[in-house]
């Protein structure tokens, strides 16, 4: 099974003696020559976000409501996979493919929001609105970073992401302020995705270190702007703001929902069956 991690006996033993009675083992990094730990982790977080969301959107290919929507979702997916290519190549000496196709689920650092299943079209758009709005503000801030790689990446990607954000907002408004059925589906999609918002603003030790070095933006600094921006879209869509459920965290540490393993199995099985093939 491609995406199941290999659990060694000593790791099981270690987990049993852990103070909390068996948390996940330490995730292992894959890079042959890891950059400084926090920076490397940050590249994976952004790269995995884009990769996993790009793969999810790719699942709509041939199934979207209308040829135009099919193209539109594929365009967004390709933008995201382009970003992931840059980020993962940077993290692994120009071999981003090794990170994309030969890592197991516990080593992925994407947020939980992007791995959520597509559901219906409304839920896909809800996920896109929540993520692209965050990504847009984040990349806008990151385009001021003193780090040349991150700055360059963000300056290019922020234009792509501005479009994704606009597209998702347009669809949210169209569906929310549409028929009774489309409004109910849009509200349902937002409700499903809403509990994954707090993770986007979580600051752990890795991020704290990078923020202290002033390399990357502090997401807590733009949470108010983010929620206000969503509020504006929802008001125009004539939808209420969903209730804040218990937040679900952990993706940044490799603790994923059951959905990611299935996504990786589909994405990784060909490169794992034919490891050195080119196409």
């Amino acid at each position: 099974m491609p995406s199941l991690p290999i659990i060694e006996n000593d790791q099981v033993a270690k987990a049993k003696t852990a103070p909390d009675g068996g948390a996940f083992d330490e995730p292992e990094t894959f890079a042959a020559d890891p950059l400084e730990d926090g920076y490397y982790d940050y590249l994976l977080r952004l790269g995995d976000d884009s990769l996993v969301l790009g793969q999810r959107l790719g699942e709509w290919c041939g199934h979207a409501p209308g040829l135009e929507v099919d193209l539109s979702l594929a365009n967004v997916a390709l933008d995201l996979i382009g970003q992931a290519t840059h980020l993962l190549n940077k993290a692994n000496n120009d071999d981003g493919d090794a990170l994309a196709f030969h890592r197991d689920v516990l080593d992925f650092k994407n947020c939980l929001l992007v791995e959520q299943p597509n559901g219906d079209f409304a839920r896909t758009m809800a996920r896109q609105l929540l993520y692209s709005t965050w990504q847009h503000i984040h990349y806008r801030e990151l385009s001021e970073s003193p780090d040349p790689f991150l700055r360059g990446l963000a300056q290019k990607a922020v234009k792509e992401v501005a479009y994704h954000r606009e597209l998702a907002a347009d669809w949210t408004i169209r569906l929310g302020d549409g028929t009774e059925e489309s409004a109910a589906r849009m509200a349902g999609g937002l409700d499903w995705c809403w509990r994954f918002i707090p993770e986007l603003f979580e600051v752990d030790d890795v991020l704290e270190g990078l923020i202290a070095m002033q390399l990357v933006p502090d997401p807590r600094g733009f949470e108010r702007e983010y929620r206000a921006a969503l509020g504006e879209v929802l008001a125009e869509a004539k939808l209420g703001v969903p209730a804040d459920h218990r937040p679900i965290l952990g993706g940044r540490r490799g603790h994923h929902s059951e959905h990611l393993g299935h996504l990786l199995a589909v994405m990784q099985h060909i490169p794992r069956l034919y490891p050195d093939s080119k196409w």
Binding site: P65, G66, L67, E68, L71, F121, S182, R185
Partner: protein, 101 residues
């Protein structure tokens, strides 16, 4: 948008798409898209017709807004121009620097 439209997009209205390929050129008709509203029509036009840097400006208009000539009237409408050769500006020398005429 009806429930049927939500399932397949078949009853979304049709929009005609025009692209200006570069500054100074006129917008040219390139095709059409289906979309439920004007903003999404523009998005669909962008995603369908400008993937390969085809333009710098887009117009969309509802296809229903076009007033079209009736093909059955093509005789009276167009044939009288056939023998009016003097209407072509071919009796003048056009300087090489003048483009797009």
């Amino acid at each position: 948008m009806s429930a049927k439209g939500a399932g397949g997009g078949h009853d979304w209205p049709l929009w005609e798409v025009f692209i200006r390929s570069k500054g100074g050129m006129a917008h040219r008709h390139v095709g059409s898209v289906h979309a439920p509203d004007p903003k999404l029509a523009l998005a669909h036009a962008r995603d369908t017709y400008t993937r390969r840097q085809e333009g710098i400006s887009l117009w969309v208009i509802p296809s229903a807004a076009i007033i079209a000539s009736d093909p059955a009237d093509s005789g009276p409408l167009f044939e009288p121009a056939e023998d009016k050769v003097y209407r072509h500006p071919t009796f003048y020398d056009i300087p090489d620097v003048v483009k797009h005429i």
